[in-house]
């Protein structure tokens, strides 16, 4: 068996081990690799930053624990930015399995800023129906959600004094693990015309880039990189001091990407060399 044959038949578990080391070592010994801000991420930051004090933002947390490493840091960074700027936040989830995470994120950051539920923010909870929920929110949010997640009546909440419809909001962000961004665009944005951004998993990012081109999305945060970019922007702006989980994970992310590129190149070279040797042997 030639060297090339042996290399091509290497046990894939060695590669798993390499990936594990490439993740764990940079987490324990961070290198502080630079995080470049991309225009779609900057656009979301600028949109949120331009909302005046007392303005309103709607955040849909349409994800579940499976996307926690990517979308949870994004949620925390976005909430920190909004609370720091004293923007009133309306939160909801259209994913039943997203309730626990959405509640946890909201509560964590609200406590950090001493925000009051019903005045500074409201978590409306989960409502089934996706498209129907979005359509009825375009007519009246208080009618769609008569009570918030804690069972308090939304009709009496100060946060809803000036807003009740989707187009009353200064900005809307859908943090999505699935195709909910497209549903928000089709049933919400296109019909009720409000500025909208999206935060999505890396898997979905390619799917949503065309919506930036059409102007249906004003900005986008894609995956852990998008979350790290947002964390960097709020840190640079002085809204927070502590680096978030996404920033801490980016060194590992970059190393694994580099390793993947090297593995792809090396295995391709080995494959072609092996094929060439076999052809030469046949001749």
């Amino acid at each position: 068996m030639s060297f090339y044959d042996r290399m091509m038949q290497i046990d894939r578990r060695w590669i798993f081990l390499l990936v594990l080391l490439a993740v764990v070592i940079p987490l324990l010994k961070p290198m502080g690799m630079p995080i470049k801000i991309t225009p779609p991420a900057q656009a979301i930051f600028d949109k949120v930053d331009a909302i005046p004090e007392g303005g309103n933002i709607l955040i849909a947390m349409d994800f579940d624990p499976a996307s926690k490493p990517e979308l949870y840091p994004m949620t925390l960074a976005l909430l920190r930015h909004c609370f720091y700027k004293k923007i009133k936040i309306t939160l909801l989830t259209l994913w039943p399995s997203g309730m626990g995470l959405a509640e946890k994120a909201t509560k964590t950051i609200a406590e950090e800023f001493g925000a009051v539920s019903g005045e500074d923010y409201v978590f409306l909870g989960y409502k089934a129906g996706f498209a129907i929920v979005i359509l009825t929110m375009g007519e009246s949010i208080k009618n769609t959600f008569p009570k918030d997640a804690n069972g308090n009546s939304t009709g009496e909440m100060p946060i809803f004094e000036n807003v009740d419809k989707l187009n009353d909001y200064d900005f809307m962000v859908d943090l999505a693990a699935g195709a909910s961004v497209e549903v928000w665009i089709a049933y919400g944005k296109e019909r009720y015309k409000f500025p909208m951004g999206a935060g999505c998993t890396a898997v979905s990012a390619t799917q949503y880039y065309p919506y930036l081109n059409t102007g249906q999305l004003d900005g986008m945060l894609g995956g852990l990189k998008g979350a790290a970019e947002y964390e960097k922007m709020i840190t640079d702006a002085g809204y927070t001091k502590q680096p978030g989980a996404a920033t801490m994970g980016m060194d590992a992310q970059s190393i694994v990407h580099l390793m993947t590129v090297i593995i792809v190149i090396v295995t391709n070279i080995l494959f072609f060399m092996q094929r060439r040797i076999k052809k030469e042997e046949e001749v």
């Binding site: 798993f16 993740v23 499976a66 498209a131 990407h257």
Partner: protein, 251 residues
Amino acid sequence: MDTFMANTVLFAQLIPDRITEIYANLPADQHITWIYNPTMHWIGIWIAALLTFAMYSFLYKDNVVYKFAEHLYVGISVGYFICITWFNVMKPNLYDPLFTDFSYNKILIIPALFGVSMLFRLSRQYSWISRYGLAYMVASGAGLAIPAMIQAMILRHMWSTFVPLWGGQTGYTFMSIFSSIVIIVGVLSVLIYFFFSLEHKGAIGKISQVGILYLMVTFGTAFGYTVMARISLLIGRMQFLLEQWMGRQLG
């Protein structure tokens, strides 16, 4: 596998938080000393850590521990989903209105019957009854989706490809003109690649090959992002294990 693992461990993590919250919201005279114990927090972390190892053990080879964790996840997910649906959908929208003010809310019986009709799919003899509920869902869903999707997914995207090569909103920069050309060539060549009424020979064949190039670039980009997503999940798990389970300070 990543999905299973992340869900399972998060549910385990949430247990101590929910108990703490329930305990904090109870009136003082109803505090029960055994309901919360700091040990619970560590039990939660240990369950999460062990389930993480159980799920990743599949990378070595398929085994009974992985199977157990996988089935545990499915069971917990379904239970969690049923509870959330009952308390957030069925109870406030159907049960409570019907049992508190029946005469005012009796119209809700109609959607309730449609909903119940769906359960007849479980019976071979009466499965035809489920068609009524299904017919309503398909009809209303299609009615809502068709105009909205055509507008948002087709017309708006076609509109954005009808851009002036220079001038217009994009200005006169080299990159804006280049981007417009890339979009136009990409749309036309990929459309021609998927046009099967003409044989892909000669000029059509050449253009469809350009379409294949565009598709390959798209698949490559999607794959790159998928790698990033999967590694992000691994990073999330490792951060949990190192920080919360092993108590290491990261960053």
